[in-house]
């Protein structure tokens, strides 16, 4: 059902954790649905210097979370915003059809974190 890559990322996730002095935080999901993804970003010169996540959720939620952090980390914010859902899925070697819905949560959380960062900047 899950690709080998999904299982690899899931069992050995990178960038797990909280950034205490994050420049932006984004959260998606709800405990009722059983999935919550929080993404923390640290920005320097418009570059995502650090990206971390905390996820309560299924295999897809966790593996997309770690993949999104890996794809985003080191990228400029503009470039990071260009990461598509398809990029995430491809990087994971595909996802089961019936799990496609949840694959967008992590990316959405990243977008929210970047928004949060931008809002803070303009505040």
């Amino acid at each position: 059902m899950y690709s080998r890559k999904v299982i690899e990322e899931f069992t050995d996730p990178k960038n797990v954790g909280v950034i205490e002095d994050a420049d932006g935080v984004g959260e998606t999901g709800s405990t009722v649905d059983g999935d919550i993804i929080t993404i923390y970003i640290k920005v320097k010169d418009e570059v995502l210097e650090d990206v971390r996540f905390k996820t309560f959720g299924c295999v897809v939620a966790i593996s997309t979370s770690t993949m999104v952090t890996q794809l985003a980390k080191g990228k400029k914010i503009d470039e990071a915003l260009k990461i598509t859902n398809k990029d995430v899925i491809d990087a994971l070697g595909g996802l089961p059809e019936d799990k496609r819905r949840c694959s967008g949560f992590a990316l959405a959380a990243l977008h929210k974190a970047i928004e949060d960062y931008k809002e803070r900047g303009t505040a």
Binding site: V32, I36, T55, F56, D98
Partner: protein
């Protein structure tokens, strides 16, 4: 890596003795039981012998045994068979009683029946999954045809007071069907002791082959088939009989009955030690279902701050096979109707796993499971976006 299988409520490995009993019927004694020649007679003999084995294992008579393709079909046949027969008997036909925690084989059948005009009462259960007998009794109406309440639940393992239910059904002159798919082989199943009119069993849950099942139908119970064709199985289940499957089922039931004095006790010991040690080693854990009135092989646990599928997969990577909810629905991650029926908090509901033991599981295996659970739950909680703090 040696794998550890603890998902016996989903399905079981075929016992080598069962497989041996089946083998001749694939290639040598392969006849059709409807044929008059010697090949057919071999098939008829095998069929009769299996029918007797099944009957003996549940205290029934051979002519009360109908072979089906599995538990789902047996459940469908029981409920729809009675209703079809009573169709023209208008005073007694419109109403069905079941519980909120039945298997989809019963619940989907009931929704279908609702969609074509029948009325269904879904009796609730308490927080440990035990049926509310008062509500059951009060829900019986003049036009109630059948009560279908499972013997033991597939997710949380709670055993229902079937004798009491049977007494109510008999008093009110309503048929009583029970789904014993999970209970047979784990606790005593005797149709007369229990007082049921119909009872479903599935072969693959008891170390028999997939593709075979039983509906016990008490003599005098009036049913009609819901699949149509030749007149096999007393006219109740047409189609060429699956002789190897039925032979295997008969053997599996015999063996399970024989081992009833031994296997369940072994599983019970493993179960209780597993529960104790998990509670010792982890916080924020809940045991779902009844503490004692439960199947000896069922351990259903909720871990707060953790999601069930993730836990399942981490254990799978370590070679441990367990399940999140009922095997039937685990692919679509919709909430378990059983866990909502017992009022489990959303907090816990998503972090629920079922460990279902088998007769061949060992204490060493449970050691490994306890340790792996501790590691995996710990890892996921560390990763979790929600937690105590």
């Amino acid at each position: 890596m040696k794998r550890i299988y603890m998902d016996h409520s989903a399905t079981t490995e075929v016992d080598p003795l069962v497989l041996d009993s089946m083998l001749p019927y694939f290639t040598e004694k392969f006849g059709n039981a409807s044929s008059l020649h010697s090949f057919g007679q071999e098939a008829i003999e095998a069929l009769s012998a299996a029918r007797q084995q099944v009957a003996d294992s549940i205290g029934a008579k051979a002519n009360e045994i109908i072979f089906t393709s599995g538990g789902t079909e047996s459940d469908n046949l029981a409920i729809r068979g009675v209703l079809a027969k009573k169709k023209n008997d208008t005073s007694r036909s419109q109403h069905i009683i079941t519980s909120m925690i039945e298997h989809p084989a019963v619940l989907s059948t009931c929704s279908f029946l609702e969609s074509i005009g029948y009325e269904v009462t879904y009796v609730p259960v308490d927080s440990e999954g035990v049926l509310d007998l008062d509500k059951l009794e009060r829900s019986v109406r003049d036009d109630t045809s059948i009560i279908s309440i499972m013997h033991a639940n597939n997710e949380i393992g709670t055993i229902q007071p079937v004798k009491d239910i049977a007494r109510i059904a008999r008093d009110k002159d309503v048929y009583f069907h029970t789904d014993a798919v999970q209970s047979f082989g784990k606790i005593p199943v005797d149709v007369n002791e229990m007082g049921v009119d119909m009872l479903s069993i599935s072969s693959h849950k008891i170390h028999g082959p997939k593709g075979a099942g039983v509906l016990y139908v008490r003599e005098g119970t009036e049913l009609e088939p819901f699949i149509f064709g030749g007149g096999h199985e007393q006219g109740l289940r047409p189609g060429t009989e699956n002789i190897p499957g039925i032979v295997g089922l008969g053997k599996a039931m015999s063996l399970a009955k024989e081992r009833l004095g031994h296997d369940p006790e072994h599983m019970l010991r493993l179960r209780d030690s597993l529960i104790d040690r998990i509670f010792d080693s982890l916080d924020d854990v809940r045991l779902n279902g009844h503490p004692t009135q439960r199947l000896p092989n069922n351990v259903n646990l909720s871990f707060r701050y953790v999601e069930g599928e993730s836990l399942l997969m981490l254990l799978d990577v370590k070679g441990i096979a367990i399940s999140t909810a009922s095997a039937c629905s685990s692919i679509s991650k919709k909430e378990s109707h059983v866990l909502s029926s017992i009022g489990l908090n959303a907090d816990y509901i998503h972090g629920t796993i079922r460990i279902s033991l088998g007769k061949d599981n060992t204490i060493e295996e449970t050691d490994h499971v306890v340790q792996s659970l501790q590691e995996s739950v710990g890892k996921l909680r560390e990763m979790s976006a929600i937690s105590k703090s």
